[in-house]
């Protein structure tokens, strides 16, 4: 299966389903969890995404069994595991700093979980060899972890976490310590592994791009709670609150007043313009809301052909224009002084705006969200 294909995993049955119900962990330090309920499907690649201190790692540690929840329940395949010690949960885990055993060779590291399970030596050697093939490190069994590069160490950690065929794999910022190029390669490899193995992945990261690239679904966490759960497209195109809109990708925020409803479309007034938008809730007329749009989905109205019915329009003044190669980035000032960012794909055919110029911007109603 090609990396990036997302909708076939639910058909494989070998991954564990995980159910978190009202999970809480009180802490004096940061990272408390204040009531997380989440159903993770069998074979799913779910990412817990959030800023540091949002409780994502604490949630993962509770699933692994290294933290005891203050309240709530964790069920794996319908069975509560809250009272079960970590070594009996049969969950694979990959740590940010790899946590390879420095006094054991690569083969001994990968064979470690098999040894604990009483797998005979010959069988162990065979499985270790297969795991090394799987992570593209054949022949590295005799080396010690310190003789490997960061990326190789992470592959060994991955091999060690899947060699005993767990049905659930937890990963705590596994690519955090690697450089960008390597990170992107390993992201693709992890997606491939996920597709090949068909097991459930729960992945923790603070990197939204990584979450968007790899996940079937993302749970955005903030202050110990899940802000929104959905597919990467859902979260990007239809954020249901200001935190998600601001944390995933870049967003413009504009104050607006609701004027009325027109089916599923909300009519609002914003900067003197009448705006049509979609809204996850149904706000009452007269209420104050925030309008969000993505910078790359705004255009200068005069670059568009014809007058599309489904477009919102607004008058602005250009205050800053930056050419950044593949695109131009403009800072625009709305009527009341609110700043709007617009990203336009660069083309020699498009006229570049100058600072101080008055212009009209336009964007699709579908790309206009009220939160």
């Amino acid at each position: 299966m090609a990396p990036g294909v997302r909708d076939t995993v639910s058909s494989t049955g070998s991954g564990a389903s995980v159910s978190l119900a009202g999970l809480e962990k009180s802490y004096e330090r940061v990272g408390a969890v204040n009531g997380v309920s989440l159903d993770i499907r069998s074979g799913e690649f779910l990412t817990l995404l959030g800023p540091s201190g949002s409780g994502k790692t604490t949630t993962l540690m509770m699933i692994a069994g290294f933290e005891q929840p203050t309240k709530g329940d964790i069920a794996i395949d319908g069975t509560s595991v809250v009272a079960m010690p970590p070594h009996k949960r049969n969950i694979g885990m990959v740590f940010q700093n790899y946590a390879l055993f420095p006094h054991l060779t690569v083969a001994e590291n990968i064979g470690f979980p098999l040894k604990q399970r009483g797998v005979a030596k010959a069988e162990r050697a065979k499985l270790v060899g297969e795991a090394l093939e799987l992570v593209h490190l054949p022949g590295y069994g005799g080396r010690y972890p310190r003789q490997l590069s960061g990326g190789q160490q992470q592959r060994v950690a991955l091999a060690r976490a899947i060699v005993f065929k767990p049905r659930l794999l937890l990963m705590d910022e596994p690519l955090g310590a690697l450089d960008k190029q390597l990170r992107e390669n390993l992201q693709l490899e992890m997606r491939r592994l996920h597709a090949d193995l068909g097991i459930t992945f729960i992945y923790v990261t603070h990197d939204q791009e990584e979450a968007l690239t790899m996940s079937d679904r993302i749970a955005v966490m903030n202050e110990g709670l899940v802000s929104q759960v959905g597919s990467p497209e859902d979260l990007y195109d239809r954020p249901c609150n200001r935190f998600v809109a601001g944390f995933i990708g870049e967003s413009n925020f504009l104050p607006a007043t609701v004027k009325g409803l027109e089916g599923d479309i909300v009519i609002a007034e914003c900067q003197g313009a009448v705006i049509r938008a979609t809204c996850p809730s149904r706000p009452s007329s007269g209420s104050t809301v925030t309008l969000t749009t993505r910078p790359e989905r705004l255009r200068f109205a005069d670059t568009l052909n014809g007058s599309a019915q489904s477009m919102n329009r607004m008058a602005v003044t250009v205050t800053e224009a930056v050419f950044a190669g593949e695109r131009c980035r403009y800072m625009l000032k709305a009527a009341d002084g609110t700043m709007i960012v617009l990203k336009e794909p660069s083309s020699a055919a498009i006229r570049r705006r100058t600072v101080g110029e008055h212009a009209e911007i336009a964007w699709s109603v579908a790309d206009t969200i009220l939160v």
């Binding site: 692994a64 069994g65 290294f66 010690p85 970590p86 070594h87 009996k88 949960r89 049969n90 969950i91 694979g92 885990m93 740590f95 700093n97 946590a99 390879l100 055993f101 420095p102 006094h103 060779t105 470690f112 979980p113 604990q116 399970r117 022949g139 590295y140 069994g141 005799g142 080396r143 010690y144 310190r146 003789q147 060690r160 976490a161 005993f164 937890l170």
Partner: protein, 267 residues
């Protein structure tokens, strides 16, 4: 790099530090019947005296036996204490480690008087077990210090990783934690041995007539009859200590080398 001191000064300092050892070693090979330096002629007769005299050999065996028992006891207790302290919350950790390290801070003479009174009540004075117990309390801080230092350099996630991979807490300790702290344990054990083997003050109080250790025997010898036997004994003691230090160094080096060795099977 520019050195702070000229090498001639460093050389003088090294000679100053090593000079007593050189003198003692030289005197031990003397043919004279009294302590004199430089020796008029070389001879092994004082070594012959030492190895032929029960009143030298018995204290030596007792000291070795006591030190061995102290090594076993203090390494066990000190390692467990270090592991426990590392898991305590911070304020408690400082308190407990302070208590365990207190024998290092309290003057040894105070410890000696204290254990003398405590042990005499139970009739332990003059028995080897009293020395073993008292020396253990002096040696444990060295083991705790060296094991704690080693533990500090070990990633706590390694234990979590082992558990997540299905190792029992017991299996995690023996397969992961213990091999990783092993260099610290070895160094601690070595210091425990030297602490007990060299110890005089507590021994003066607790030896009585029944448990005379080698340092106590040397001390008595110096007070009543000075002959070069004591130089021979001292030289042997220095050699033993040096050999132990060398062995510990070699063990550590070897275990580090094992971890960095490139095997031929790797491409």
């Amino acid at each position: 790099m520019k050195s702070i001191l000229p090498s001639s000064v460093v050389g003088l300092i090294l000679i100053f530090l090593a000079f007593p050892i050189i003198v003692v070693a030289a005197v031990s090979f003397s043919s004279a019947n009294y302590l004199t330096f430089p020796p008029p002629a070389l001879s092994l007769k004082w070594y012959r005296v030492y190895f032929g005299a029960e009143n030298w050999l018995n204290p030596t065996w007792l000291s070795l036996w006591v030190a061995a028992a102290v090594v076993v006891l203090s390494t066990l207790l000190g390692t467990l204490a270090a592991l426990g302290i590392a898991r305590l919350p911070r304020p408690l950790r400082i308190l407990v480690s302070g208590l365990i390290l207190s024998p290092l801070i309290v003057p040894v003479i105070v410890v000696a008087i204290g254990v003398y009174y405590a042990f005499s009540r139970y009739g332990l004075v003059g028995k080897p077990i009293a020395l073993v117990l008292a020396h253990t309390s002096l040696a444990v801080p060295f083991v705790v210090t060296s094991v704690t230092a080693t533990l500090a350099g070990i990633d706590p996630r390694l234990e979590q990783a082992a558990l997540s991979l299905g190792a029992t807490p017991r299996g995690t300790f023996f397969q992961i934690t213990l091999p990783l702290i092993q260099p610290g344990v070895i160094v601690g054990a070595l210091f425990a041995f030297i602490t007990s083997f060299d110890e005089l003050i507590v021994s003066l109080f607790l030896s009585g007539q029944g448990a005379v250790t080698l340092p106590r025997r040397m001390w008595e010898d110096l007070r009543y009859a000075i002959d070069p036997t004591i130089a021979a004994v001292s030289t042997l003691t220095i050699v033993l200590t040096a050999v132990l230090l060398g062995a510990a160094h070699w063990l550590r080096k070897r275990s580090e080398q094992n971890r960095t060795l490139v095997t031929s099977s790797a491409p």
